[in-house]
């Protein structure tokens, strides 16, 4: 009854061409889109390709990209986090309040806001798993709650809606080295956040396709019930994904507070949709179980290039929203057809 294990090829399997192999990758659409946007703005806006221009749009893409990668992992795991945008402000506020109002060392304040972020992420995940409600509605709740807390607590403590004065806090310089320094390349300053973005995307991509946790992420997003039945720890996986998103928000919040030395209590609102858009442009399915971290990083790159490109082309920034809408629709359509091919869908 045993059949000789066939070596490599099979007569029923047409040898996949390069195109066929590329087309099943979720990030291919985003890559083509990024190329098109890059060429377009290189042609219409002279400044776009200057070192300063490049540094600018890379910087714009970097903080968005860190979040988009985390949000993409969460979406592959089948969940959304609408509180991700305000979380970037909350973490910055916690750090700033402990450093300027309580007078703690900046490093210690960062540690406390990290604990805070992971706590909020865990609560998000626990609530979603415990109630069985869609994460969309649960995190909409945390989004509103955090928005209120950000404003309320800030006003209570400082009497205004911003926290400033970070520069005089202990450890500001050394913490700034890690999160907000610049690297001089050929006379142009590049923000270190770009390095964090690339690093975060690389680690996330590796985790997703090469580790057990990555395997579980795709599985719980593809079918949570089946995953549980074969022994995948669904609850633990999903809560970890929510905590990863919160962790990314902590990185971005820390970058913001150490770069600007002050933070507005109403920052970050609305950004959560940009993260989701970047992840979708990068090839994530809204239904979970499919997507790519590298794709999300490229999605953020498209964002950064377009947002700064429009400035360099001296157009009104109103056009950015139009561009965004068209880009999103195109991405969803492309994803859909590419995924069909990837699945070679049977019906």
């Amino acid at each position: 009854m045993s059949v000789a294990v066939r070596s490599q090829s099979d007569e029923r399997l047409a040898k996949p061409g390069l195109w066929d192999r590329l087309v099943v990758r979720p990030e291919i659409g985003a890559l083509l889109g990024a190329l098109a946007v890059f060429v377009f703005f290189s042609v219409v806006a002279g400044q776009f390709l200057s070192p300063l221009g490049v540094a600018n749009w890379l910087d714009d893409a970097s903080t968005l990209g860190i979040m988009a990668v985390a949000v993409a992992m969460l979406m592959i795991g089948g969940e959304f986090d609408l509180s991700a945008g305000v979380m970037t402000a909350s973490t910055a506020l916690v750090t700033a309040i402990f450093a300027t109002q309580v007078g703690l060392n900046v490093w210690f304040s960062l540690l406390l806001s990290l604990v805070f972020a992971l706590g909020v992420g865990a609560i998000n995940g626990w609530l979603v798993m415990r109630t069985g409600l869609p994460s969309f509605i649960v995190t909409l709740g945390t989004f509103l709650a955090l928005q209120g807390l950000n404003l309320g607590v800030t006003r209570l403590i400082t009497g205004t809606v911003q926290v400033s004065g970070m520069r005089s806090a202990d450890g500001y310089e050394s913490a700034g080295m890690l999160f907000a320094s610049t690297v001089d390349i050929g006379g142009t300053d590049f923000q270190v956040s770009i390095v964090w973005w690339v690093l975060f995307a690389a680690v996330a991509a590796w985790v997703l396709v090469r580790t057990r946790f990555g395997n579980w992420t795709f599985a719980v997003g593809g079918s949570a019930l089946s995953s549980r039945a074969v022994g995948v720890p669904v609850v633990r996986t999903k809560i970890t994904l929510f905590m990863t998103t919160a962790f990314a928000a902590w990185i971005v919040g820390s970058i913001n507070i150490l770069r600007n030395a002050s933070v507005q209590a109403n920052q970050g609102i609305g950004l959560e949709f940009q993260y989701i858009i970047a992840a979708v442009i990068g090839g994530c399915l809204l239904t979970g179980g499919f997507g790519s971290a590298v794709g999300a990083a490229i999605g953020a790159l498209i964002f950064g290039m377009a947002r700064q490109g429009i400035v360099y082309a001296q157009w009104n920034s109103d056009w950015f929203m139009l561009f965004l809408g068209v880009m999103l629709l195109a991405a969803v359509l492309v994803n859909n057809t590419f995924r069909r091919r990837a699945e070679r869908v049977r019906r």
Binding site: L13, N215, A219, S227, A229, E343
Partner: protein, 256 residues
């Protein structure tokens, strides 16, 4: 090895299972037979840790147990093929095969999937079942129903250490593959595993079974040892006895 005593389960107000008792011994096959909705899947889901019983006792090697999750059942050596197969359609065949028990290499934070080993074991396990897949990298959603079933069965056989539970494993299979699955059941039994086999087909159940548990509307119609029942009697019981004779009569009347 496994014993259930007067076990019962309700979903809200639906009584899916009540007062069912049976045993699964090493080296024996316990067959569960019954109509659609009789509670067969409910029974095995309790054994597999997907659901918990709310009445009666569930014993393993004489100790009372209650699995909180399928992971715990797997860790006690109970592997299951579910009727809905429990596969993730968008994931590749080999990733599905190893899902929940992935082979890894490396250590600490660098611990990663052993992809080569994963692909190899999947290909050999499937080839042994007579399923020769084109490509273990293809998504499970693109396989035919029977191929998908074979992936699920091969997975359970591969990871089942002590008890193997099969919920209608032959439902979507061709004659050859159904034969292979039954031979697997016999092999597993001869290796000393306890097997629970659910099927609608008495001709599949009778040759391999040692014990037959008949369910109807969540209740036990009786548990028979092989020596106590013939295949004709089994078929008659399953079909509801007299009802079948009446049906045969009707059909004959229609044909005329």
């Amino acid at each position: 090895m496994i014993e259930v005593r007067d076990i019962g389960k309700t979903y809200g107000s639906v009584i899916a299972l009540a007062d069912v008792s049976t045993v699964v011994n090493p080296g024996e096959v316990t067959c569960v037979l019954g109509d659609n909705g009789a509670g067969k899947s409910t029974l095995i889901k309790i054994l597999a840790g997907v659901h918990q019983h709310d009445k009666g006792q569930f014993l393993i090697d004489g100790d009372e147990v209650r699995f909180a999750s399928p992971r715990e059942a797997l860790d006690s050596g109970i592997a299951t093929v579910y009727q809905d197969l429990a596969v993730v359609p968008l994931m590749s065949v080999w990733r599905n095969f190893h899902l929940g028990s992935e082979p890894t290499v490396g250590w600490g934070p660098l611990r990663r999937l052993d992809r080569k080993k994963g692909r190899e074991t999947t290909r050999t396990a499937l080839a042994e079942m007579g399923i020769d897949l084109r490509d273990v990298e293809q998504p499970v959603g693109t396989l035919s129903g029977g191929e998908r079933q074979c992936v699920a069965i091969a997975r359970a056989v591969h990871f089942g250490a002590k008890v193997l539970i099969l919920d209608e494993p032959t439902a979507a299979l061709g004659v050859k593959q159904a034969g292979v699955v039954l031979r697997y059941v016999a092999q597993a039994r001869d290796r000393g595993l306890g097997v629970v086999l659910i099927t609608h087909n008495p001709h599949h159940a009778y040759p391999v079974g040692d014990r037959f548990l008949l369910l109807k509307r969540g209740r036990s119609l009786g548990s028979y040892e092989k020596g106590d029942i013939t295949i004709e009697e089994l078929t008659r019981q399953m079909a509801g006895g007299a009802e079948l004779e009446a049906l045969e009569h009707e059909l004959r009347a229609v044909q005329k």
